[in-house]
Every structure is written in C-alpha cells, then in structure tokens.
C-alpha cells in the first residue's frame, strides 16, 4: 500500500469525470420524471400553434429518453472534469484542512455562480417560448451571465479575505457577491418573449424542474467527487495524520 504519495492530476481528474457522469445520469433521471411532462405539454402547445406536428429529425421518444440522458451525462462529465481541474489548481489556496469542505465548497460556488445567477436573470424557456430571431443575442447574454456569476463568486472570496473577524468576512463576502450581481443584472439586456397566451403555471413548473435538474447535477457532482476523493485519501493517506486525528477525536 503506497504511503505519503501525492495523487497525480490524472487521478483527481478521473474521479471528477466519474462523479460528473454519475451526477449527469441522476440529473437525467430527475429531468425525465419531473421535467419531461412540462416539455411535452409545451410542445403540444407549439404544435397546436403551428397547426400540426412536423416530422422531427429525431423521434420525440428518443429526444426525451436516450437523448436526454446522453445530454445530461455528457454535460455532467464535462463539468466534473472542470470541477476536478479547478480543485487540483485551487486546493492549496482554499483555506481549509478538509478535502470534503474544499470539494463541496467549489461545487456549491458553481451552483450559485453558474446556475443560480444565470437562472434568475435568464430563466430557461420551454419549447414554444422565445423568439428564434433573438437566439444569438440570448445565447451571448446567457454566457455573459455565467461568466459574471463566476466573477461574483471571485469578488465574494476576495472581499471576505480582506477581513479577519468571522462575521465581517461573511458580510464582506455577501456584499462583494451582491454588488457584482446587481451591476451585472442592470447592464445585461432583458428579453421579454413569453407569448401572452402561454400558460403561466406551465412556464413556472418547467423553470422549476430545470432548476431542479441543475441542482441535482451539482449537488450529486459535489458529493460524489468528495466521496471519491475521500476514498483516494484513505488509500494513499498519511498514517501520521491518521494517528493525530484519532488522538484528537473524542
């Protein structure tokens, strides 16, 4: 059994990819059972408005089944790879002795910056909502909101680190985050493209299921990645630290 070995980037990366794939499949399951009914309902409205169904390139049953799981698992794996990379590069700068706190902290920050900040400015739209003529502008604005979400997290960390007292750290961090998000929300363009006759309840339910899908993805990704890291630590861990832990644990 190897002792005191530092894991390679590739070992951490592999665990991130695996965690991402798992999280993607779980998010796919959530989306399949809780999101698809709203997608189907929206497509029915779209088809009624267009006066009949067009023959899709890919069967609807494939889009809502295999296609959905393929999308969420590939997306999850990509995000897992990025999380593992961020973890490897940033671990020594995260001021915590716990790998679990570090992994969950990064995943939580991603959920806040990459999901919640974009979601509140540009809530996702079901089929039949959104003007195809503005897809380019909306895509660019969405990506800008993702980048600004990350900037807000970064600002929060920088602001928190200017303080030493715990309460002041928390307050400075929150202020840094909110200032960046408020400026970003003010500067980013607004799109108002929901058709007047689109059912409000369906729109709300679809958006909540989309937020849920992304929340499942990042929560499962963080927890699985932290779990795999913990197993890796047990395998390659430092026996001296283990002994120290045992003596200090009541």
């Amino acid at each position: 059994m190897p002792l005191n070995t530092t894991p390679d980037y590739s070992q951490i990366l592999l665990r991130g990819l695996l965690a991402g794939l798992t999280a993607g499949l779980l998010a796919g399951g959530f989306a399949f059972f809780l999101g698809e009914p709203h997608v189907e309902a929206a497509i029915a409205i779209e088809e009624a408005a267009a006066g009949g169904a067009e023959k899709p390139l890919v069967e609807r049953s494939v889009q809502s089944g295999v296609g959905l799981f393929l999308a969420t698992s590939l997306y999850g794996a990509a995000l897992g790879g990025i999380l593992a990379t961020a973890y490897t590069v940033l671990r020594r700068r995260l001021h915590t002795g716990s790998d679990t706190h570090a992994a969950l902290g990064l995943a939580g920050a991603a959920l806040l910056g990459l999901v919640l900040v974009p979601f509140l400015k540009y809530p996702p739209n079901p089929p039949a909502v959104g003007d195809p003529a503005t897809i380019r502008e909306r895509t660019i604005a969405y990506l800008a909101s993702v980048v600004l979400g990350l900037v807000a997290i970064w600002a929060a960390v920088l602001a928190a680190r200017t303080q030493t007292h715990q309460w002041r750290r928390a307050t400075a961090g929150t202020a840094g985050f909110l200032i960046v998000v408020t400026i970003a929300y003010t500067l980013l363009p607004t799109f108002n493209e929901v058709p007047a006759d689109f059912p409000a309840t369906l729109l709300w339910n679809f958006r909540i299921s989309s937020l849920g899908t992304q929340a499942v993805l990042w929560t499962a990704l963080g927890l699985t990645f932290a779990g795999l890291l913990s197993r890796l630590a047990t395998r390659t861990g430092h026996p001296t630290e283990t002994a120290a832990e045992i003596t200090t644990t009541p």
């Binding site: 390139l57 890919v58 969420t72 997306y75 679809f206 630290e241 045992i246």
Partner: protein, 64 residues
C-alpha cells in the same frame, strides 16, 4: 477510522497549469457540443442537436 484524512494535491507547476488549461478547453468543447452546437462541431448536421434537444432545455440553456 479517522474522520478527515487529507490528500496532498500536486504542486501547481507551469506544466500542470498547461495540462489543466488544455483539458479544460477540451471539456468546454464537450459542454459546447451538448449546449450550443448546431452541427458545426459535430459534423452530424442537426442530428446531435435534435437528439439532445430536451436535455438542453432542462439544463437551462437558451435553445430556440
């Protein structure tokens, strides 16, 4: 068993940073393929785009 065994992460060298940047680029390409590609990257026409249509909507990406 101890409650918190910590891992030593590899030292952040320029070489590691270069590898990490390269891999991040690759992963962003994969995410792009799912979220935004309309055949330019996949060279499959609109097939992959259509296949992953529902996933895109439910992952919160602007679709159409």
């Amino acid at each position: 068993m101890s409650k918190a065994q910590t891992l030593t992460t590899p030292a952040v060298s320029p070489r590691l940073l270069a590898t990490a940047a390269g891999f991040t680029g690759l992963m962003l390409l994969l995410a792009y393929l799912v979220a935004f590609d309309q055949g330019a990257l996949s060279q499959s026409g609109m097939y992959l785009h259509e296949l992953m249509h529902d996933g895109r909507h439910l992952l919160g990406v602007p679709c159409h």
